[in-house]
Amino acid sequence: MRENVWRFFDVQYPDGSNPIEGWYQNLSEEARDAFNKLLKNHRKTENPQEWIGFKRFLKGKQLQKERIWEWWFVADGRQYRVFGKFWQGERKQAILLAGCYHKGEIYTPSNVFESACKRSRDLSEGRAQPSEREVKEDI
């Protein structure tokens, strides 16, 4: 069995809140399964540009500055987007910043880009900590 080459992290605030976990808990069962399977798959795939569903680095001044990227996957007939970034200076570590629905050109919640940027800055400036994300409900 191939060892995991990537580790994934959530953003954890001192008050215990974890926005990615909050988003995850509100997903449908199928979306949670898909997200978990995706993490499991990506952990073993060395080149992130070969991750299935890896879409792009986002454009926009702040988003580019934070080097935020976007994944997508589809579950229960809805398209989901996950935003993240590679952890500064660390090899094979990625931080998941936010998740949302996507349809047409509309992201729900609509402030997801701002949230992702803010969480990225919070991490850089020490207001939040990375917390390793295990693949939930992995059997």
């Binding site: 069995m1 191939r2 449908s28 069962e29 199928e30 399964d33 898909a34 978990n36 399977k37 995706l38 499991k40 798959n41 073993k44 795939t45 060395e46 080149n47 070969e50 299935i52 569903g53 997508w72 996957f73 589809v74 579950a75 229960d76 398209q79 939930k136 409900e137 992995d138 059997i139």
Partner: protein, 206 residues
Amino acid sequence: MNERSKKISKLIESSTSRASYIRASLGVNIPSQIRALRLRCNMKQADLAEAADMKQSRISAVECPGATRFNLETLIRLASVFRVGLVVRFASFSEMLEWENDFSQDEFVVTRIEDDAEFLNPVTSRQTTATVANSRYVFRGASLEMGNWLTPTTIGGLVDTSFDRETIEEPLVSYLSGGKTQTSDPQFFGEEMLLQEQKPITETLQ
């Protein structure tokens, strides 16, 4: 109850949960295999689209997790372009999960038909066919399922199970009784089996 136990309980109790789980698994593992095979072939999505007579947008979708409800014809077309076989069969959850846990997109390689020695050399396969009841051999590179017939199986390959009983029964009986196989045909069990012939039979039979 931990999350794993909760998940297992849900899967046991709910058909909807089982369907979701299987869908999510296939929704990730099929696109991942397609991407791996395409990259091994040094193909761009446009190349694959042309070879499979599909639109590039369709190839993009089949490589996106969950975006495609695959039909068999699509998979057959892609397998054909990649010059590999395709296996679609029902399996236990444990088997499904074991495959998934072992799967790595980076290391996923499938032998192309022109390099598939077992497929190209059916004579060897025919020689390894024998009669043994209610036993099963598993050895590196292939498995020999033993019901009424000992049959070499290969993914995507068809096996001719006709054989000459006289040619093969004696060495097999010798093997099963713990003695060293004496065969005039060095390819009798293939190289893999010959490597194991000194082991006690209890280590080999499952």
